[in-house]
C-alpha cells in the first residue's frame, strides 16, 4: 500500500510539471505534437525509473554520512554528501548515454524519431529533480525510490501528452496574436496546474 501511495502521489499530487515546474524547457519545446510528446515522455519514464534507484544506492552506500562504513569502519565518519550534485549528474549523463546507445542498437526506428531529444534528457531538470527529491524525502528502501521515480516519470508523461493534445487543437482557435505559442501554453499549463491541485490531500 505504501508503494501505491508513493506512486499515486508522484503522478498526481506532486506532479513534476504542475507542482514543481521541472522539465519545463523540454516540455514547452517538444509539446507541439502528440507524437513527439509521447516519445519523449516514454524516454523520461524510462530514464527516471533507472536513475532514481541507482542514485538512491549511491546516496546510501557512498555519499551519506557513515554510508561508507561497509567498506571499512574507519570510513564511518565520512560525509561526502556535498558531492551529491556532481555524482548524480555524472550518473544521469552516463546512463542517458547508455540508453542512447542501446536504443540506437536495438530500436533504430525509435532512435531516429526521438533524434536530438534523447541526449537532451540528460539536462532535463525533472531527472535531476527526481534524484534530489529522492534525497530530500529519504525513502526507506530502493523499492520505494524506484516507484517514486517511475511515478514521477508517468506524471511527466501525462502532462506532456495532455498539453500536446491541447496545443494541437488550439491551433484552430483565435488566440490574441501576442499570446500565441508560448504565452498561451504557459497560461494553459497554469490552469491545468490549478486543476491538478484538486488531487491534493489524497492518501491511499
Amino acid at each position: 500500500m505504501e508503494y501505491v501511495n508513493i506512486f499515486v502521489k508522484a503522478i498526481f499530487i506532486e506532479n513534476m510539471i504542475f507542482a514543481y515546474f521541472l522539465g519545463m524547457c523540454s516540455y514547452l519545446a517538444v509539446s507541439k505534437t502528440v507524437k513527439t510528446g509521447v516519445g519523449l515522455g516514454a524516454a523520461v519514464i524510462f530514464v527516471l525509473g533507472i536513475t532514481v534507484p541507482i542514485n538512491y544506492m549511491m546516496e546510501n552506500y557512498v555519499l551519506k554520512e557513515g554510508a561508507l562504513s561497509w567498506l571499512s569502519p574507519e570510513l564511518a565518519t565520512m560525509d561526502l554528501s556535498f558531492l551529491s550534485f556532481i555524482m548524480f549528474i555524472a550518473i544521469i549523463a552516463a546512463l542517458v548515454q547508455l540508453v542512447e546507445m542501446a536504443v540506437e542498437k536495438f530500436a533504430p526506428a525509435l532512435y531516429s524519431s526521438l533524434g536530438i531529444f534523447l541526449p537532451l534528457i540528460a539536462v532535463n531538470c525533472s531527472i535531476l529533480g527526481g534524484a534530489l527529491f529522492m534525497q530530500e524525502r529519504q525513502y526507506a528502501n530502493v523499492g520505494q525510490a524506484t516507484v517514486f521515480g517511475l511515478g514521477s516519470g508517468v506524471g511527466w508523461f501525462l502532462a506532456i501528452v495532455a498539453i500536446a493534445a491541447i496545443r494541437e487543437k488550439i491551433r484552430y482557435s483565435n488566440v490574441p496574436a501576442p499570446l500565441r505559442g508560448l504565452g498561451i501554453t504557459f497560461i494553459i499549463t497554469g490552469l491545468m496546474g490549478i486543476a491538478f491541485m484538486s488531487f491534493m490531500g489524497i492518501e491511499l
Binding site: 514543481y20 515546474f21 501576442p178 504565452g183 504557459f186 497554469g190
Partner: protein
C-alpha cells in the same frame, strides 16, 4: 595587406557597442525566459518571495558568468564528443560552491530554495549559453554574455516575485506593505489585534497568487505584455 593586419591587432575596447549589446539584449529582445524559453523550471518555483528570487538570480548569474568564462577559456582543449559531460562537471562544481556558500551564510533561504539550488546545474540557460556562446567566443565577451543572461533571467524572476509576494501576502521583501492583518507579528514582537492599513478597509490577500500555478499564469501575462509592445517577437 599590412593595414588589415594592423586593424586586426587593434584591441576592441572593453565596453564596445557589441559588448554592451551582450548585456542589454538578453534583457528584452533575447530574454532567456520569455524569448529563448530556457531556464523556466527554476524560475517559476521560487518566485513566491522577492528575497528568494534575488538570491536565486545572483546564484544563477554567478554560475552562468563563471561557467561561461571557464568553458570559453578551455574551448580549444575540450574534445567535441565529450563536451556535454565536461560542461556538466564544470557547472556542477560551481553549483556545489554556490550551495555551500548559501548554506553557510543564508541558511533559511537555502532551505526554502531546497532542491532548486541543485537544479541550477540543469538550468537550460546555462547549458544553452555554454553551447551557443562560450564554445565559440573569447572569455571576456563570454563573461558579459553570462552576466547579461543572468540579468535577463533575474528581471523576469523579480518582476514575477514582486507581483506574487505583494498580491499574495501583502508584503515586499518580508515587510508588510498593505498594513497588518489581525494576528500578524509586529516589529516589537507583539501580535496585532486590530487590522491596519488596507486590511482595515476590508482588503483580503489573494491566496491564489502564492500557489504554484499562478507563477505560470503571471509569466504568461508578462509574455503577453512584452509581445504586444515588441511585435516582432510574435509567433506565427
Amino acid at each position: 595587406m599590412s593595414e588589415v593586419a594592423v586593424a586586426e591587432v587593434v584591441k576592441e575596447p572593453l565596453f564596445s557597442k557589441k559588448n554592451r549589446a551582450l548585456i542589454s539584449n538578453p534583457l528584452d529582445d533575447d530574454n532567456p525566459i520569455t524569448v529563448q524559453v530556457l531556464g523556466i523550471c527554476s524560475a517559476l518555483a521560487i518566485t513566491v518571495q522577492v528575497k528568494q528570487a534575488l538570491v536565486m538570480t545572483l546564484s544563477v548569474m554567478f554560475v552562468t558568468a563563471a561557467g561561461n568564462v571557464i568553458v570559453s577559456a578551455m574551448r580549444n582543449y575540450i574534445p567535441n564528443r565529450i563536451r556535454i559531460i565536461v560542461q556538466l562537471v564544470i557547472v556542477a562544481a560551481l553549483v556545489i560552491l554556490v550551495d555551500q556558500v548559501l548554506k553557510a551564510f543564508v541558511y533559511d533561504i537555502s532551505k526554502a530554495l531546497s532542491v532548486f539550488v541543485g537544479l541550477i546545474i540543469t538550468n537550460c540557460i546555462i547549458m544553452g549559453r555554454l553551447e551557443a556562446f562560450a564554445l565559440a567566443n573569447k572569455p571576456w565577451p563570454a563573461f558579459l554574455d553570462g552576466i547579461g543572461n543572468g540579468l535577463g533571467y533575474g528581471v523576469i524572476l523579480i518582476t514575477v516575485s514582486v507581483f506574487r509576494e505583494l498580491l499574495g501576502s501583502g508584503k515586499l521583501w518580508g515587510f508588510p506593505v498593505f498594513g497588518h492583518k489581525v494576528g500578524a507579528l509586529l516589529s516589537d514582537g507583539t501580535l496585532a489585534t486590530e487590522a491596519s492599513g488596507l486590511y482595515a478597509l476590508g482588503y483580503v490577500d489573494n491566496g491564489l497568487m502564492i500557489l504554484p500555478p499562478m507563477a505560470l499564469i503571471t509569466v504568461g501575462a508578462l509574455i503577453w505584455i512584452q509581445r504586444s509592445r515588441n511585435t516582432k517577437l510574435i509567433e506565427g
